[in-house]
Symmetry: C2
Amino acid sequence: MTAWAKGTAVSGEQRPSARPATLHDVARLAGVSVATASKALNGRKHVSATTRAEVLQAADLLAYSPNTLARGLVAGRTGMIGLLTSDLEGRLSIPILMGAEDAFGVDRTSVLLCDARGDTIREGHHLRTLLSRRVDGLIVVGARPDPRPSIGRDLPVPVVYAYAPSADPQDLSLVSDNVAAGRLAVRHLIEIGRTRIAHITGDASYGAAHDRARGARDELAAQRLPLAGDRVYFGSWSEAWGRNATRLLLTQHTAVDAIFAGSDQIARGVIDALHGSGLDVPRDVAVIGFDNWEIFTTASRPPLSSIDMNLETLGRVAAERLAAALDGPLGAGTEYLPCRLIQRESTATA
Amino acid sequence: MTAWAKGTAVSGEQRPSARPATLHDVARLAGVSVATASKALNGRKHVSATTRAEVLQAADLLAYSPNTLARGLVAGRTGMIGLLTSDLEGRLSIPILMGAEDAFGVDRTSVLLCDARGDTIREGHHLRTLLSRRVDGLIVVGARPDPRPSIGRDLPVPVVYAYAPSADPQDLSLVSDNVAAGRLAVRHLIEIGRTRIAHITGDASYGAAHDRARGARDELAAQRLPLAGDRVYFGSWSEAWGRNATRLLLTQHTAVDAIFAGSDQIARGVIDALHGSGLDVPRDVAVIGFDNWEIFTTASRPPLSSIDMNLETLGRVAAERLAAALDGPLGAGTEYLPCRLIQRESTATA
DNA sequence: TTGTAGGCGTTATCAA
DNA sequence: TTGATAACGCCTACAA
């Protein structure tokens, strides 16, 4: 005893309240079985051209849209991945999400985004929910680029940590290669002819700050150049620190012709202080930032060269690893992805 | 002929590759039927205390997690909503998403976030995918606060537009009350004793800019105060414009004691220029911004007062409207939500 | 109180 | 080439 309200079905496209057409409806309208309809719609073989056309027409008429849930139920895969973040402003998660979207293809996979807001309890809630929804994989994005607690071993789905690595070496993590980025920044400054290069960066409790500094030192050493200021200026990730550190630097070492800043905000402060001292950027002192956060780089005077962490790539690779993990084991350990340099006027060659 | 690999089931918690336990498995382990197991787990009546305990224990042992998809299939609701955005940096979507998460409750509803990147084709793709996944509702977030094309009438699910209203008055849109926000900003400046208030804002092609300006004018008129500078300074949403406009303003009208900026970035430029002219903020000139974008407001010297658009609230209300639409019509037209004032030092009372 | 059975929308395996 | 039919995992009448 079926309960189809046949009358409205055909013209159902108009009525928002009407339940969406099912494969059953399509099959009935086309006068075939659901099996045939399914084959026809999925482009499988063993369906006559005429039948296929009729089914397609019926589907069109009913505005048929296959129920992905039901499909996932039988397929054992949902085509959804979970993105677990603590990124309050989305500056990290959105690019990573876009990269993941690109890797999978928009119509193959959707992303469930959950913001834990740095709260472990909430993170656990979200995790349970996502597993309950049978996501095919999980990407965990930390709020700062330092190791964070693992969300657990032996989860029923593959997990990739992006930006912030997992503290558990058994997990797979994808992070920016901060050391290489530091080298990249300094090499660029050297290539545009600078030899007295200083480094002003943020909070020393950030591992990334040390990594970038190490890269900078490595490159300087390789080129037999000193570090202007003799030391790395650690402080905080703020414009104010960029200003203060620059003033400090200038009083102690006048012979500086380039500054590598640990973030774009710091670079802002650096440029500010340089201008305050009557120095021109880039003529007297070239400046390069980090993050390539457009609201800062383009608002800067002059526009700020910066290191881009390639977050979209991070998301794309994370998605690729998850996809590969569907048939095959997921690796372990931390993978370092290269950053790229975006040159703007603040390091323009004279 | 069932294919259960019973041996591993009980200790399956350890094996990531093992398929997740089903209600069937739990029932079998507890020695009851699936129906009973279902009732026990869902806290329904007509289950003896002992049976319930046994079922719960079995579920625990198997690390059972109900398959939300299967549940959704029978319930006719998925517990997922789609968030369709064009917000490249997530500054808008993430707060709105968090508001929606709060409204629904983390374990009741999950959010599928799709970024169309301003591309209509891609938006259509995402829309189809979301409908195919049978989301219970849709929130559409535009990139700028002006009317945007509707994604279509007669969709099978309720749709709420947030931040950017739909151009179709039949749709339901939730936007910030920019007029009221303009009044709010100016009223605040008056309350701290200012009487010569100017307004520097962004691109005149933005409706929101005009709305805020109108609110500002209304409030000034209500208090019988003139608009300093005689006109609203429209320009661009940039720091540079804030600087230039301020210089312009100061050359023409020295007697300004407060500036209402159309964005925090503009405010940044305004403060810069004021300092450049030897004026103190807030002693000589008070400044208030718009957006309450923390990276700008707290980096500012002095910290910048600003208008917060309450995006979380926007998301929360959007979610509430969607929830209400499950049983009942959605309503149409544009709803204006109040903004709130965040006072910081840039408008501190002397 | 418990269990049986039907159905949610699809896909896949067989027969026909 | 087509069409029954059995899953997929769960819920909910209804029957026992």
